[in-house]
């Protein structure tokens, strides 16, 4: 799972540095339209009752994201997806809400994986 993250960010870094996109937007915005990790297994089976499934999915996303926060490796994408999921649910869009909660949990899982990898990987960057 680390593979996709690496490639993805390498590609982004190249784009950011070479394209010089201009403007004052942040690099993070470049990535927000993408799925968490290209080449991931296909989406979980579609829920037949999103309203019933949503609370558990949201709780799982929150819990993972909190773990990442505690590790000081959290991603803002997970945070905004959790908020959007809550808003969608409040507006009665449970299918959308469920999908976003599932996405949020995936991002949170990737951030935890990053923390785990980095616990060792940083050492190779010290000159």
């Amino acid at each position: 799972m680390n593979g996709p993250v690496r490639w993805y960010s390498a590609a982004l870094m190249a784009l950011l540095l070479l394209a010089g996109c201009g403007g004052d937007s942040t690099p993070a915005q470049e990535s927000t339209q993408q799925a968490p990790a290209a080449g991931e297994p296909a989406e979980d089976t579609v829920s037949t009752n999103p309203e019933a499934d949503f609370p558990a999915a949201l709780a799982a996303a929150r819990e993972r994201h909190q773990q990442a926060m505690d590790l000081e490796f959290a991603w803002s994408r997970a945070e905004t997806l959790i908020e959007s999921a809550e808003n969608a649910a409040a507006a009665g869009d449970f299918a959308g809400a469920l999908e976003m909660a599932i996405q949020a949990e995936k991002f949170a899982a990737l951030s935890i994986e990053q923390a785990t990898t980095e616990a060792e990987a940083w050492q190779a960057r010290v000159p």
């Binding site: 993250v5 690496r6 993805y8 960010s9 982004l12 870094m13 950011l16 540095l17 010089g20 996109c21 201009g22 403007g23 004052d24 942040t26 690099p27 993070a28 990535s31 990442a68 926060m69 000081e72 490796f73 959290a74 991603w75 803002s76 994408r77 945070e79 991002f107 990737l110 951030s111 990053q114 990898t117 980095e118 990987a121 940083w122 050492q123 190779a124 960057r125 010290v126 000159p127």
Partner: protein, 275 residues
């Protein structure tokens, strides 16, 4: 086969570097920029990206002739000299009455077992005298910090080398933070400010981390006011899609400790102006 062996070697060398002492780290850090940006004298990096581009530097020098932080700097002096309700003032909490002391911060407080930044020391002083602590990102605290930096201009950054195990652990944690990839973009501080230093990221030139802490707080045109170093840390975390940490969190204080130690020997030139 050869490829694999050299990778193993690189990993081993990397590991050796990690266990080097702070002073050896600092030498290697300086050597890195000496080699990477050989046309720029190391002392010049206190001017950040303006050390790297003549055109941008000229504009910046013009701006510094009538520095946009001047007004806030004056307010900072007034705030620094103002009496607390108990009749004391900030001067009573600092060596040399707080004049020309910026270069010794942050330091590791052995008794408290933590890194003390200048901003933290200012707020602790206020609290010790019954005053409310000030917000850390901008405003009055940044103004006071700017005044204290101003009285220290030209003094050489001199963060004491970690002596105890606790101090070394704080330093190491700051170092680890600096070299760890974070956020959805998976960038470390070093990805931008070492690996890509001198190159352009959009409209900006990526500064060296050597000298990164010499000139704070900074008046950024984007902020339209003085802001503290930890505000910049937050922005640099945010722009790679990481959730930023609290200003003056232990992690950011440790990061400042490591980063400032790397700049030992360079001159204080705060407050500064940046785009």
């Amino acid at each position: 086969m050869i490829g694999l062996r050299s990778i193993t070697l690189a990993v081993l060398l990397g590991t050796t570097a990690v266990h080097a002492g702070p002073e050896e780290d600092r030498q290697r850090f300086r050597e890195f920029y000496q080699n990477r940006l050989s046309s720029i004298p190391l002392e010049a990096h206190v001017d950040g990206a303006y050390a790297m581009n003549a055109g941008a530097r000229e504009q910046w020098l013009e701006m510094e002739e009538f520095p946009p932080y001047e007004f806030e700097l004056d307010e900072g002096q007034e705030l620094f000299e103002a009496s607390f309700a108990d009749g004391e003032s900030l001067a009573s909490c600092f060596p040399e009455g707080g004049q020309g002391v910026r270069q010794g911060y942050p330091y590791f407080d052995e008794e408290a077992g933590e890194v003390v930044t200048l901003e933290l020391a200012i707020n602790r002083c206020r609290e010790a005298h019954g005053e409310q602590p000030l917000p850390y990102l901008s405003g009055d605290l940044a103004k006071i910090s700017a005044y204290m930096a101003y009285t220290s201009r030209g003094n050489v950054i001199n963060v004491p080398t970690p002596q105890s195990e606790a101090a070394l652990a704080a330093y190491e944690s700051g170092k680890q933070f600096y070299y760890s990839r974070r956020g959805q973009l998976n960038f470390a501080c070093s990805s931008c400010h070492m690996q890509n230093t001198g190159l352009n990221l959009r409209a900006e030139i990526l500064s060296a981390s050597l000298g990164h802490t010499s000139h704070w707080p900074v008046y950024r045109l984007k902020w339209e006011e003085l802001g503290t170093l930890h505000k910049r840390f937050q922005e640099c975390n945010s722009q790679v899609g990481a959730v930023p940490l609290e200003a003056q969190s232990e992690a950011y204080r440790n990061l400042e400790y490591f980063l400032t130690y790397m700049s030992n020997g360079l001159e204080i030139n705060g407050p500064g102006t940046r785009k």
